[in-house]
């Protein structure tokens, strides 16, 4: 992985990395809509080399959710 998860999320969501906490949810970030979510999923798959299922994608509603899904897939973040 070229950069850490927080930095990856910050880059996609166009927010400072310091604002990327586990509690940060889609509803907290104006640009984190369904289109941005697709971009985020594509970045995660590309950067982490992981294949996410549709259920995974739907479950990823916050940074904490993203970490939980990735951890369940054996990705350490």
């Amino acid at each position: 992985m070229g950069k850490n998860l927080e930095q990856l999320l910050a880059d996609v969501l166009q927010i400072p990395a310091t604002e990327v906490t586990d509690q940060l949810a889609m509803t907290d970030v104006e640009v984190w809509d369904s289109l941005k979510h697709i971009e985020l999923i594509a970045s995660l798959e590309e950067q982490l080399g992981v294949q996410l299922s549709f259920d995974d994608i739907v479950a990823m509603r916050s940074v904490g959710d993203i970490k939980r899904v990735l951890n369940n897939k054996g990705v350490t973040v």
Partner: protein
């Protein structure tokens, strides 16, 4: 994308441009399924191409599209390619001055042309791509547009519908690209098809041919070749491939 063994849906594949695409794709080893309202044409298609599967479906009817797509996924799984080809040619000016006065564009025909050429593309694509995304399947959507999208005098409804198809192509390419689904349009110019001859007077066709730098109408096989080319090129996305003999230069 190598076409060998790929699952491809072609709407309106019984006759005309769609038939030419089906024949070309089958010859390249693709597994083709036709969605068409022309059930009477299924027999001749199956006689020529027995491996082609046919689904009776009016693509302007959302319930029929949903049902046929559901059946398709249940029997064949996710397609690799969807080709939105079904449509109708129609010419009518916005206003026509006749011996008895002013005749306005038929409002019912406006609705029918938009529904057949544009709404059907939305119905098919949302139904198929929705299931592809749910299964995380990558693939290609090819929309058959037209050079008339630039605004063809005497063809308000058709021009508007095809312009809409081109716009959807660009919007969907941006939306779906990150998920590995390419969206492309192929825009034929004036083609030598039965429907073109039926919708346009021979005089008008002769005048059109004079405006085409190559001085002829396009062949259906050439459109099929263009469709194959854009499917096979994995970096072609969000663009309209114009195949018009140089008419729009």
């Amino acid at each position: 994308m190598d076409l060998g063994g790929k699952q491809i849906i072609v709407t309106g594949g019984v006759k005309g441009l769609g038939r030419a695409m089906v024949e070309k794709l089958v010859s390249r080893g693709a597994v083709v399924t036709v969605f068409d309202i022309d059930v009477a044409g299924f027999d001749s298609l199956k006689q020529e191409l027995p491996d082609v599967q046919c689904f009776a479906c009016d693509v302007t009817n959302y319930e029929q599209v949903s049902g046929a797509v559901e059946d398709y996924f249940a029997s064949r799984g996710a397609p690799d390619v969807l080709i939105n080809n079904a449509g109708i040619l129609y010419s009518e000016p916005l206003i026509r001055i006749t011996g008895t006065g002013l005749q306005l564009h038929d409002a019912d025909m406006w609705e029918r042309v938009l529904r057949t050429n544009l709404t059907s593309v939305f119905y098919m694509t949302t139904s198929v791509v929705g299931k592809m995304i749910a299964r995380r399947t990558k693939g290609v959507v090819v929309n058959i547009g037209s050079v008339a999208a630039a605004g063809n005098p005497g063809a308000s409804a058709y021009s508007a519908a095809k312009a809409g198809v081109h716009a959807l192509t660009q919007a969907w390419a941006r939306e779906l690209g990150p998920m590995g689904i390419r969206v492309i349009a192929v825009a034929p110019g004036y083609m030598d098809t039965d429907s073109a001859h039926a919708a346009t007077s021979e005089t008008a066709l002769r005048e059109t041919i004079k405006r085409v730098p190559l001085r002829r109408l396009g062949k259906t096989e050439e459109v099929a070749d263009a469709v194959v080319a854009v499917i096979e090129n994995d970096f072609f996305n969000g663009k309209v491939f114009e195949l018009d003999g140089g008419l729009t230069i």
